[in-house]
């Protein structure tokens, strides 16, 4: 029976703690794999905007810095392999940049592979009628000319084959988050394609660690009661040949791996727990057992798998106008009343100049604005201070730009006690709307390639 595989996660999103990877391998140089997840739903559209300015920037550049931070580890003989979706829209460019880092550091023996085939933009643009919105059933055709990105969530197959071909670093574009962990498991355990239960177990393991510290107490309900919540450890999962796993974290890190933290993360961003869909397997979470097996060690077993669906999920995005958010702090009696009057008044003044928007929103932070209308805060009149947040969206850029120039003037024409305007004018942000849809697997060709730089 093969030994258990240890896989850690060193990034749960694009912007996570930059020193997580180096700290993980310093604490646990025996780790088999590091996985790093950079891609949220609309991340690729942000990369598309970056690439429009600089053709070589369509990927998560942060990862190149992470790899650079691991150079001393590899120079010292470290063996931990890496799987990441940092490739974004351009896995080749990301792999090339990483290759340069390794070559410069005298680590040219480390092999880099990249996975492609997830980009289905051309297909979506050619046949938009085939890509109905997954939730609403709406047709894409009227928006086809505005589609910016369309990427299928690939499975673990090309990752596993790249690893078996000797890759030390595998860089993918859009890949299902748990497949980053399941890929190494598939290469290590050599499961048959129909070993659905262990495949399901490894997929659950990948799902549990994909959000970084969230399974170790980050984002948990009882965060404040955690040991050292200021420095929560990143997760390590030990996966066994039967697909069961133990979630843990490095010694001397904050946070805690407990049954509650693991259960919260199990159902994070899940709809039906009886049908968790990955491109590799469909999993039922309803047979899972979650048990504490030691301090900061929680065992998850019993995943039930069955054959996956015959389609990949596609995340497409399309341009949908512009938005901006302006923030100002107000202090003093009737702070909320004044903030609301100032925010709504600003929109009224703009309207009188013919500057209108398709959507506006005035929020007074401190009043329960995160869930406006639920009435959970103390009485507005009791607040001595609030942050006014005014938001606008429009099809065209001009009215939004006009709006961004009208926030700071509230310091002189608004109520007394306005402050917090020193950060400058708000930015005009392009809106990339999200369009989830499906594509038959037969229309997609996932593949990997080992990078061979001269």
């Amino acid at each position: 029976m093969p030994r258990p595989l240890t896989v850690a996660n060193a990034a749960g999103f694009w912007g996570d703690q930059p020193d997580a990877a180096a700290r993980l391998v310093a604490a646990r140089p025996d780790l088999d794999y590091l996985t790093l997840d950079y891609l949220a739903e609309v991340s690729l559209s942000i990369m598309a905007a970056m690439r429009a300015k600089d053709p070589l920037s369509g990927y998560a550049r942060d990862f190149v810095d992470v790899l650079r931070s691991l150079v001393p580890f590899y120079q010292g003989g470290g063996k931990t392999r890496i799987v990441t979706n940092a490739g974004g829209l351009d896995p080749l460019a990301c792999a090339t940049a990483c290759c340069e880092v390794l070559h410069t550091a005298g680590l040219a023996h480390l092999k880099i592979a990249f996975v492609s085939g997830d980009d289905v933009l051309a297909l979506v643009q050619r046949e938009p009628e085939a890509f109905a919105h997954l939730e609403t059933g709406a047709f894409l055709a009227p928006l086809a000319s505005r589609v910016v990105t369309a990427n299928a969530y690939l499975g673990a197959g090309p990752i596993a084959t790249a690893l078996l071909a000797g890759a030390d670093v595998v860089i993918t574009g859009r890949t299902a988050d748990p497949s980053l962990t399941f890929g190494p498991c598939l290469a290590h355990f050599g499961w048959a394609t129909t070993d659905w239960h262990p495949i399901a177990g490894a997929t659950v393991a990948g799902h549990l660690i994909e959000c970084g510290t969230q399974v170790c107490g980050g984002f948990s309900t009882d965060w404040l009661e955690l040991p050292d919540p200021h420095d929560i450890g990143f997760p390590i999962v030990e996966i066994s040949a039967d697909g069961s796993c133990v979630i843990t974290k490095p010694a001397s890190t904050g946070g805690a791996v407990t049954v509650p933290t693991v259960k919260e993360q199990l159902l994070y961003e899940i709809s039906d727990p009886a049908n968790y869909l990955s491109p590799d397997v469909t999993v039922s979470f309803l047979t899972l057992k979650v048990a504490s097996v030691g301090e900061n060690r929680v065992r998850v077993s019993g995943a039930a798998g069955r054959a996956p669906t015959d389609s990949y999920k596609v995340s497409a995005t399309y341009r949908d106008g512009y938005k901006a958010h302006g923030l100002l702090t107000l202090y003093g009696h009737d702070a909320v009343k004044k903030a609301r009057a100032a925010g709504e008044g600003l929109l009224r003044r703009l309207a009188s100049r013919g500057v209108t928007f398709r959507e506006t929103l005035v929020e007074c932070l401190g009043t329960g604005a995160s869930v406006q209308g639920l009435g959970q805060s103390s009485k507005d009149s009791e607040l001595i201070e609030t942050v006014l947040r005014v938001s606008v969206a429009a099809d065209k850029k001009e009215p939004v730009e006009h709006f961004t120039k009208e926030i700071a003037p509230l310091v002189t024409c608004g109520p007394q006690g306005v402050t917090g305007y020193a950060t400058g004018r708000p930015k005009v942000l392009p809106i990339f709307a999200y369009w989830p849809c499906l594509i038959p697997k037969a229309q997609v060709t996932p593949q990997f390639q080992l990078l061979d730089l001269p």
Binding site: S45, Q265, L267, S271, P273, F285, V371, G373, S391, F432
Partner: protein, 112 residues
């Protein structure tokens, strides 16, 4: 009445314009009480000011959990929503503040 947080913990997250809120009984013995009282209709009506859409509930008794899916609660979601919380990060915290008429005696005596 007590706030739900005294007997449950929870976590929320987004997918497009939809959010899910997973609610877990702190004491497994309370799962049945939660299942009987924290219905999809109760949660949908609690979040009515945010226009959550037709809310569904999935039961996961092995995790002492109920998972609610609110299909339109994020005002467009992702980069489309103008809301401060476009990603539903606060929804679990909001639900845990909901007052519930949890029995003062042990729930086992009340759930048949």
């Amino acid at each position: 009445m007590i706030p739900l947080r005294q007997i449950a913990h929870a976590r929320s997250g987004d997918k497009g314009n939809s959010a899910n809120i997973a609610v877990f009984a702190r004491d497994p013995a309370d799962y049945i009480w939660l299942r009987d009282h924290l219905t999809a209709a109760v949660v949908q009506s609690y979040f009515a000011p945010l226009n959550p859409g037709p809310t569904t509930r999935h039961e996961a008794p092995n995790l002492d959990a109920l998972n609610f899916v609110l299909p339109a609660v994020l005002g467009g979601g992702g980069s489309s929503s103008l809301r401060l919380d476009a990603q539903g990060k606060t929804l679990a915290m909001a639900l845990l503040e909901m007052p519930v008429s949890y029995p003062e005696t042990t729930p086992a005596e009340h759930t048949d």
